[in-house]
Amino acid sequence: MTPSAAAALHAPRAERPVPGPALSPLTCRLCGAQHAPAAAAVCEQCLGPLEPAYDPVRRLPGREEIAARPRSIWRYREWLPILGAPVLSLDTGFTPLLEAPALAKALGVRRAWVKNDAVSHPSLSFKDRVVAVALNAARGLGLRTVGCASTGNLANAVAAQAARAGLAAWIFVPEDLEVGKIVGTAVYGPNLVRVRGTYDDVNRLCNQVADRFGWGIVNVNLRGYYGEGSKTMAFEIAEQLGWRLPDAVIAPMAGGSLLTKLDKGFSELSAASLVDGEHPRMYGAQASGCAPIVNLVEKGGEAIEPVVPRTIARSIAIGNPADGRFAAKAIRTSGGGAAAVTDGELVEGIRLLARTTGVFTETAGGVTVAAAAKLAREGKLRAADEVVLCITGNGLKTVEAVQPALGAAPVIDPRLREVAALVTAAH
C-alpha cells in the first residue's frame, strides 16, 4: 500500500450532507460544557457523556394537545432532541400497556401492568424508540451511513429503520448471537459483521469505527440523541395510566441507559405538571451471570466493576455498562432497588409472563419478570403497590432459551378417539 493510500485508510471520512431536521445542542453531563449539535457522544473537555440541552422556556403541550396527536413517540416531541418535524420512523411507539391481574396476584401486589414493547413497530423491541430518534439525528447531521454495536435487538431496529430510510447500515454483533436476531437483521440487507468476542469487544471496536469512518453509530457517537428515545416509554406509561404515576417500575438493565431515561422521563412529566403522584420507585433487573449494576447498587460507591458476561440473556449481557452508575443513582434516589436472577429463574419468568398475560417475551423480559418476583418475595415490592413491568423484547427472537423447558406436544393420528384419550389424560 502506498503512503497516500494508507493515509486515506486511516483518515476520518466526512460524508456529504443531506437536508434534515435541526437538532438540540449538547451539554456535558459531568462538566456542563456546551457543544453544538454533532455526531459526538463524549465531551472534549472531560470525556464525560453528552446529552441534549433543551430550551428551558420552550412551549410545552398540555394533556389534551398530546392526546390529539398521532400515536407515536413523536407526540412527545418537545422532550426529544429533534427540533421541528421529524422526517423518519414516524410511526414507532405507543405500544400497549396491558393490565395484568393474574400476574399481580402471582407477585402479590395490588395491580400490575405490562408495558409491551414486545410488539414495538417495526422490529419488536424497545430499541425501535431510540433508533427512531437516532436516525432523525443522523439525517439532521447529514450522515448517509449509520450503524451500531448490538446484542441483537438494536441490530434488528437499525437494520429495519435504515432500510426504510434508504440509509446504508453497518451493524456489528457478537459472533454467537441467537439465530433469530441474526436473521432478523440480515433480512433487511445491511452490512452485518459478526465479531469474535463479547458485546464489550464489539462496542470497543465500534468506538474506533465511528472515529475512523465518520459514520453515525447510533449507540456510540449518536448516543446523546439516541438515549432520549427511551424516555418515551415513561411518557406512554404515564399517559396510558391516565396521566398518573405507578408506585414502582421494573426494567431490565444492560448499559443502564433505559432505566436512567425512564427515571428522567418521569421527572420531566412531573416538572411539566402533566402527572399526578409521587415519582415511582425504580427497580433494575439483571441476570446474575452479568450483574455489574446490581452489584454497584448493593455494594455502594460510584465506579462499576466490569464483569465477563455468562448468561443466556444475551440482549442485556453488557459487562461494562456506560450508564451503570447513573442507573444505580436513579435507583437509590427513587428509593427503589435491584435484583439479579439466574438463567433458570429467567426462563421461569418468561413462562410466568406468558401464562398470566399472554405475552411472549425474550430473555431480558424473563429477567424482568423473575426479578419482580424476587423483589416481591423480599418485600421490596409491597402488597399495596401498583407496578409496571417494562417488557422490552419479543420471545420469538430467543426461542432457544425457553424451548428446552417446554414439554413436547403429543403427535396423534387424525382420529377423534385419540383426542378423547388426550382429554381424559389431561384431567
Binding site: T151, N207, G255, S315, I318, A322
Partner: protein, 91 residues
C-alpha cells in the same frame, strides 16, 4: 518499554493534533505519565487528581481491559498497544 498509544479523535486536540503516539513506561500508568509530561492538558483527561483512571475512560492493553488486570499498575510488554476508549454504551 516503548509502546503505541491510540487516542480517540476527541482527545487529539489535547495531544498535538495526533491520535497515535509512541510513549515509554514499565506500566500503563507510567506510559500515561510519559505522555502527560509531553501534553499536560491530555494528562488531566486521562487520569484524576489521584493519578487513577476515570471510571468513564477505558484503557485496553493489547485488546484486554486493564480493569481486569492491575489497572494502571498493569505491566506493559515492549511493543504493546494501548487503546483509550470512552465508556461503553448499551446494545
Amino acid at each position: 518499554m516503548s509502546v503505541t498509544l491510540r487516542l480517540p479523535t476527541v482527545l487529539a486536540k489535547a495531544a498535538g493534533g495526533q491520535t497515535v503516539h509512541q510513549a515509554k513506561g514499565a506500566t500503563v500508568g507510567d506510559v500515561v505519565a510519559d505522555l502527560a509530561t509531553k501534553y499536560p492538558e491530555l494528562g488531566t483527561r486521562l487520569r484524576d487528581d489521584k493519578g487513577q483512571p476515570y471510571p468513564y475512560v477505558i484503557f485496553y492493553l493489547d485488546d484486554e481491559d486493564i480493569r481486569f488486570q492491575k489497572g494502571f499498575q498493569t505491566p506493559v510488554p515492549d511493543g504493546a498497544e494501548i487503546v483509550v476508549v470512552p465508556a461503553i454504551a448499551g446494545g
